[in-house]
Every structure is written in structure tokens, then in C-alpha cells.
């Protein structure tokens, strides 16, 4: 059974049609890269997978469960097992790093404050962020904010992670740190979709890549398949000759 399956997905905002007919599936434990030009609607697909956007037509299945028409209340159990890593981290700026990480644990678990504190400490240490518990998000660098955002997303140990440009605007050191973390999570059996423009990261972590142009999937394949398609639209996109 596919962990994620999207069938005949259509989405429009007002008069603008963003997606005409998207079909994709991601197997358990696989990492799929969604690539395409800016404004091609990659993030819209990602947001729809967790119910932040509603499909106009089509079907979205997560671990065999049709979530297309779920309301906010019905989506809560899904959002405990599917994590979303926002492009800018989307940390709560009125809360410290520790409070940001504690947020899902307080809401969805019955862990004691001591256990929550220990879990946060361990998670931050895994991300090279030890000692940053009391710091407010505004005082963190962009790379640290993204890492805290990723730490908050995985603290509930989700089965599926949706990454929205996790390495955008980062320096090589922070990019490598994020790549390592994505690979580590993948090794642990986490299914993921990665929206990115950062092709080295996509090649480093994705099993398969999907290119979206004008609301359609125009190319799809593994790294080897893509490298063998000389002159294809995917190659042109990667080399910057087309988008």
C-alpha cells in the first residue's frame, strides 16, 4: 500500500488554475522530490496532503485513508502522524525554542513536564542545538530556525514528513545538516515528500523526482533514469535551460 496517493487532483484559486490533473504516489519509506518553477504549485500539493488546502476535485489518500473531504476536527489524528516542515520554520515567535518543541507534546501526549523537558533536550542535541532551550526564535539565525522547525515537526515521531523548501536560503553547512537529518529519518522508515529548488539536496536525499509544469506532471523518475534522459525537459530544468 502506498503511504501517499494523489488521484486526479485539481486545484484553482479564483480564476487561476494551479493544478489540472495531478496523479502521484509515494511508497512507504520512500522520499520523493517535487520540483518545478516558482509558482508552479508544488507547495499547494504539499499543503493539501495535510489538509491546509482543500482539493477542488480528485482524491488524497494517506496510508489508505481518504482525507480529501475531512474537516479540521477529523484531520487532527492525521496531523499527529504527518508532519509539515514550513519553509521559514513558522516557529511561534512569542514562545521560546523549548516551548515551541513542547507544544505538540503538551497537546497530544500525556508525558510529564520532566519527560517533555528531557525529550526536548535530547532532540535539540540531535540537531546540534543544545543549550538553545530558552532562546526566542527571533534571536536564532535562519539556519537554526529551520532546524528548530524540523525538530518541532519530528518530535512526535511522525510516519510521514512533508518538507517545504527545507534548505532554501541556507549556507552549505546548514544545508548539509538538514540533508543528513532527512537521510537519517528516511533510514528510520519515514516516508517523505520534499519540495525544493535545491537540486543537489534533491539528488542527495530523493529516491524519485517529479517535475511539475503548468499544473501537470511532465517528467518523473529516479536519479539514474533522469540522468539517462539526455535533452529531456527534466534535464533542461536541472541545467536551467527551461522551467
Amino acid at each position: 500500500m502506498d503511504a501517499i496517493k494523489v488521484e486526479n487532483f485539481k486545484k484553482r484559486f479564483g480564476a487561476k488554475i494551479v493544478h489540472r490533473d495531478i496523479n502521484l504516489s509515494v511508497a512507504q519509506g520512500q522520499c520523493v522530490g517535487l520540483i518545478g518553477g516558482s509558482g508552479s504549485g508544488k507547495s499547494v500539493i504539499l499543503r493539501s496532503l495535510i489538509g491546509l488546502e482543500k482539493a477542488d476535485e480528485g482524491r488524497i489518500m494517506i496510508e489508505g485513508e481518504d482525507i480529501t473531504h475531512y474537516n479540521e476536527r477529523e484531520l487532527i489524528p492525521l496531523r499527529k502522524k504527518v508532519a509539515y516542515v514550513f519553509q521559514g520554520g513558522a516557529l511561534f515567535d512569542s514562545m521560546s525554542v523549548e516551548a515551541n518543541l513542547a507544544y505538540p507534546l503538551i497537546e497530544h501526549t500525556s508525558l510529564s513536564p520532566r519527560h517533555i523537558h528531557e525529550k526536548i533536550k535530547k532532540t535539540l542535541s540531535n540537531f546540534g542545538l543544545q543549550g538553545s532551550e530558552k532562546i526566542m526564535p527571533a534571536a536564532l539565525s535562519g539556519g537554526m530556525q529551520k532546524r528548530v522547525g524540523l525538530a518541532r515537526a519530528i518530535i512526535m515521531e511522525p510516519k510521514i514528513i512533508l518538507y517545504d523548501e527545507p534548505t532554501a536560503g541556507l549556507d552549505p553547512f546548514n544545508t548539509r545538516k538538514i540533508q543528513e537529518k532527512i537521510l537519517e529519518l528516511k533510514k528510520g522508515g519515514v516516508t517523505s515528500i520534499l519540495v525544493t529548488h535545491d537540486m543537489p539536496t534533491a539528488f542527495a536525499v530523493c529516491d524519485r523526482m517529479i517535475l511539475i509544469v503548468d499544473g501537470h506532471i511532465v517528467a518523473e523518475g529516479t536519479r539514474t533514469q533522469l540522468e539517462n534522459q539526455k535533452g529531456s525537459i527534466m534535464e533542461k530544468f536541472i541545467t536551467g535551460e527551461a522551467y
Binding site: 491546509l52 484531520l75 487532527i76 496531523r79 514550513f86 519553509q87 516557529l91 497537546e107
Partner: protein, 264 residues
């Protein structure tokens, strides 16, 4: 020319209906979430502090100034007709029934309405509202309910304080400028202002509190377009809630007046 006018009027009507529909939908969502677990009493208490305690100085200054100015104006005006002894009655009634609730609400629309919209708007454009949803929690419960309930609880209390300070200010002015005896002032106020006057004034503030908080949340939740969008939403929120307070005041006054007549 006619087409242009029709388009403008049509667009205004659509925007108005969209606003009414949006706020009504938000109120209905809030109502349905209000009775479901989990509850966040700590967030409500925090908002009560933010809205109430931190607005106290502004509300006190406004009430003191209003009471003092009214005592002066009525004092000098009525003195010409030998009616300065009516000043305590007129000032106390005006403050308790009308000016206390309206001025306090207008001050809060500026301070709290703007604050609510700017805060939620900033959260919206930085995807923090999406993050609340993505983490399996409800922005209605976490953001809207604490602010609306906080405002509904605190605004009537602030109005009571404002009424008291306003009457106290007019007492000082009546004694210092008009030479009225403080005991005489006290007796006239106590004799004139009955419980119904007090209740009518405070009851109005429940409507005003709902306007300020719901409109603030509505515009905050709809904010788009970065920091500029936050500024635009904040301005809209303050203007809309102020207009709602001023215009609904007449309707509410008339409504309560009919109700008072009916119950007598």
C-alpha cells in the same frame, strides 16, 4: 459613467456582504468550538491581563478627562439658567448610560482591536496560524476564543471602573469650579442613577466587546501580503469596529429603552 457607478456600488455591496458573512461564520465557528475539549483557561486569563490590566491607564485617563470636561461644560452652561445644581445628575446619567461605555469601547477598539489584528495578521503571514493547524490544534481555540472571551469579560469591568473615575472627576470639578458640596453631589448621583441605568450601560459593552474582538480576529485571520498587509488589516479593523460601536450605539440605546418601558 453609469457602469462605473454600478460597478463601484456592486463591489461595495459584495465587500459588505463578504464581511458580514465572514464575521458571522467566525462567530459560529467560535460558538461550536467553545463547548468542545480541550479548554485553555490559562490563555483566557492571559488575554484578560493583556486587555484589561494593560488598558487600565488609558481607560482611566479617558474617563477622568470626560468626567471633568462634562462637569465644566454643563456647569458653565447650566449656571446661566441657574441650573448648576443639576450638573451631578446630568453628568452621572450621561456617563453611566452612554459616554462611559462608548468612550471605553472606542479606546479599546484602538488599543486592543489593533493589537489583536496586528498579532494574528503577523502570525498569518509568517505561517504560524498554519503551523497551529499542522500541529493538530485549532486556531479558533488557541487564538480566537481567548481573545473574544477575554474582551467580553474585561470590557464591562473596565467600563465600571471608567464610570467611577468619570464621576469622581466631575465631583472634583463641581467642588473646585462650581462650588458644589461633595455630599450634595454624592446624594444627587445616588438618588438619580438607578440600577437599570448602570445595567443598560454595561450591557451595551458586551455587544461592543464582541464587535472589537471578532472584527479584530476576522481581519487578522484574513491578512495577506506581508507587513504592508498587516498594516492595512489593522487600520480596517480599528475603523470597522469604531464605526460598529458608534452606529450600533443608537440601535442598542433604542432597544434597551423599549425594553425598559416594557418591563416597567
Amino acid at each position: 459613467m453609469i457602469n462605473g457607478i454600478t460597478n463601484t456600488v456592486g463591489s461595495l455591496i459584495i465587500r459588505f456582504l463578504s464581511f458580514v458573512g465572514g464575521v458571522t461564520y467566525l462567530a459560529q465557528e467560535m460558538w461550536s468550538h467553545l463547548w468542545r475539549r480541550p479548554f485553555y483557561p490559562a490563555l483566557i486569563v492571559e488575554q484578560m491581563y493583556q486587555i484589561g490590566v494593560r488598558s487600565l491607564s488609558l481607560v482611566s485617563a479617558t474617563a477622568f478627562s470626560t468626567g471633568a470636561v462634562m462637569a465644566l461644560q454643563f456647569g458653565f452652561g447650566l449656571e446661566r439658567f441657574g441650573g448648576k445644581y443639576y450638573v451631578p445628575k446630568v453628568v452621572a446619567l450621561s456617563l453611566v448610560r452612554e459616554l462611559g461605555p462608548v468612550f471605553t469601547s472606542l479606546m479599546l477598539a484602538g488599543r486592543i482591536g489593533a493589537g489583536i489584528t496586528a498579532e494574528i495578521g503577523s502570525m498569518n503571514v509568517t505561517q504560524q496560524i498554519d503551523a497551529i493547524r499542522a500541529l493538530g490544534t485549532s486556531p479558533i481555540k488557541k487564538i480566537v476564543i481567548p481573545r473574544v472571551l477575554g474582551c467580553l469579560i474585561v470590557l464591562p469591568l473596565l467600563t465600571v471602573i471608567a464610570n467611577f473615575i468619570g464621576i469622581l472627576a466631575s465631583l472634583f470639578i463641581c467642588q473646585a469650579e462650581l462650588g458644589l458640596d461633595p455630599l450634595f453631589f454624592y446624594q444627587k448621583v445616588v438618588y438619580t442613577v438607578v440600577l437599570t441605568d448602570f445595567v443598560v450601560g454595561v450591557a451595551k459593552t458586551l455587544f461592543f466587546a464582541a464587535f472589537i474582538s471578532l472584527v479584530g480576529c476576522y481581519y487578522g485571520m484574513r491578512t495577506v501580503g506581508g507587513t504592508q498587509g498587516v498594516g492595512i488589516a489593522t487600520t480596517k479593523s480599528v475603523v470597522t469596529s469604531s464605526i460598529l460601536i458608534v452606529t450600533s450605539d443608537f440601535a442598542l440605546t433604542k432597544l434597551f429603552w423599549i425594553f425598559e418601558k416594557w418591563t416597567q
